[in-house]
């Protein structure tokens, strides 16, 4: 099984990547680690005419402390996130969630930026950056702009990125509340989450409970008004529209969301 024919181009700088993208327009896609895009291309669900390989832009692979926030380069691999001592100290939610993505081989190649722009609602890291109130920095022909994670995911595999724009950096404010948890339920080890939940303090975001990662607003409100983990978790499915698919039907996902949010809030509370 091989992808449909395409033209491969390699960029050695962000500027070169943007120039190549401007030249090829809608026919081109950026290739980072390729662990979302290449499987789709092999299935002919994505058929770009041009791939612009940005995988060698090593200067987009970093985790830095910027005082009030942590800066993560878009091409940082899941494995590097999982092994980052800075993240282990400052953002253990992100380090731990990254260690739960796929399997070791996938984590060696896959990148946080690739996962976010792919915007699969069943992916782990989109919900994590949502729970962390991250800001995503996109660069395009006319410069950089900041997009709050809450406005980044527009729909199934759709983001706020414009054609020709590249996700460059993820900026994450250092959390005020220490408690965190990441839970996901899968039938087999490397499956996508049937449902997942990321908790940081009073922020709760859900994996695979709609067309995009979603904040569990009703849970957050209940927590803010003093509800305990179990009572707050009872609201986990409110306002969500989980898919019915081969893995689970809607009602089962709603049940899972309540159970997993309950576990996550209890674990988070135990960590404060």
């Amino acid at each position: 099984m091989i992808p449909a024919p395409f033209t491969y181009k390699r960029a050695w700088s962000v500027d070169e990547a943007l120039d190549l993208a401007a030249r090829d327009g809608d026919d081109a896609k950026f290739l980072a680690g390729g662990h979302s895009l290449l499987p789709l291309m092999k299935l002919r669900l994505a058929v770009p005419e041009v791939l612009i390989d940005i995988g060698r832009l090593r200067d987009l692979s970093y985790v830095r402390d910027d005082g009030s926030q942590i800066l993560v380069g878009a091409l940082t691999s899941h494995d590097d996130l999982a092994r980052s001592s800075l993240l282990a100290g400052q953002l253990p939610l992100l380090a731990h969630a990254a260690s739960q993505v796929g399997d070791p081989q996938v984590r060696h190649r896959g990148t946080i930026g690739g996962s976010l722009v792919h915007a699969d609602p069943a992916a782990d890291l989109p919900a994590v950056v949502l729970a962390l109130d991250a800001t995503l920095v996109a660069r395009g022909p006319s410069g950089s702009r900041e997009i709050p994670a809450g406005s980044f995911f527009n729909g199934l595999f759709e983001t706020a990125l414009q054609p020709g724009e590249l996700l460059e950096e993820i900026r994450i404010p250092k959390p005020q509340a220490a408690g965190w948890s990441f839970q996901k339920f899968t039938k087999r080890a490397i499956d996508w989450a049937i449902v997942g939940v990321a908790v940081q303090g009073g922020s709760v975001a859900l994996v695979n409970m709609g067309q995009t990662p979603v904040r569990a607003g009703a849970v957050e409100q209940a927590l803010a008004s003093g509800a305990g983990p179990r009572d707050a978790a009872a609201h986990a499915a409110e306002g969500t529209s989980p898919p019915d698919d081969i893995n689970a039907d809607r009602r089962y996902r709603e049940h899972l969301a309540r159970v997993l949010v309950g576990r996550a809030l209890e674990e988070s509370a135990a960590r404060t």
Binding site: M1, I2, F6, T7, L38, D53, G55, Q105, A189
Partner: protein, 159 residues
């Protein structure tokens, strides 16, 4: 496009289609057929090789992405003297294979694991091999072999 990959220490250079996958480059261009294509969907791990020392599934890497880099396949674990790699020896000693289809990928994933964590616990071995499926379900012996091959094993486990 022209792709040059250092495979098991030797440069392999070829003109290939842009869409060529690394696993096909290894099998059809470099003529190294130990690396198997199993599921072809990044799930089973039969095609696992090392890219710059780290395990990857070569069915989900373009040959172009490996251009200028180093790849190690299971053929490259030995120096040709007939002496097996410690992980291979442990797989034989512990009967860690049945049909053998998953074995090259299992061995390479294990080599990568032991490079990153020379004395893993059993739990860590099981989770590090989550991306490699054995269709004979021979997991217990595989895990035993990896534990036996761990460089830190003698300090940690009675023989």
């Amino acid at each position: 496009m022209k792709v040059t990959v250092t495979v098991n220490g030797s440069q392999v250079e070829a003109e290939v289609a842009d869409r060529t996958l690394l696993v096909h480059f290894l099998r059809d261009v470099a003529n190294l057929t130990a690396t198997n294509v199993g599921c072809d969907t990044t799930s089973c791990g039969a095609c696992t090789v090392l890219l710059d020392g780290k395990s990857v599934k070569s069915c989900t890497v373009l040959a172009a992405q490996a251009d200028g880099r180093e790849v190690t396949t299971v053929e490259g674990l030995t120096d040709g003297s007939g002496e097996m790699h410690p992980v291979q020896r442990a797989f034989r000693a512990e009967h860690a294979l049945q049909c053998g289809f998953c074995t090259p990928g299992m061995v390479m994933a294990s080599v990568s694991l032991l490079d990153e964590n020379p004395s893993p616990t059993e739990e860590e071995v099981r989770s590090a091999l989550e991306g490699n499926l054995c269709r004979c379900t021979g997991y217990h012996n595989i895990v035993r072999a990896v534990l036996a091959a761990a460089p830190g094993a003698s300090e940690r486990r009675p023989s």
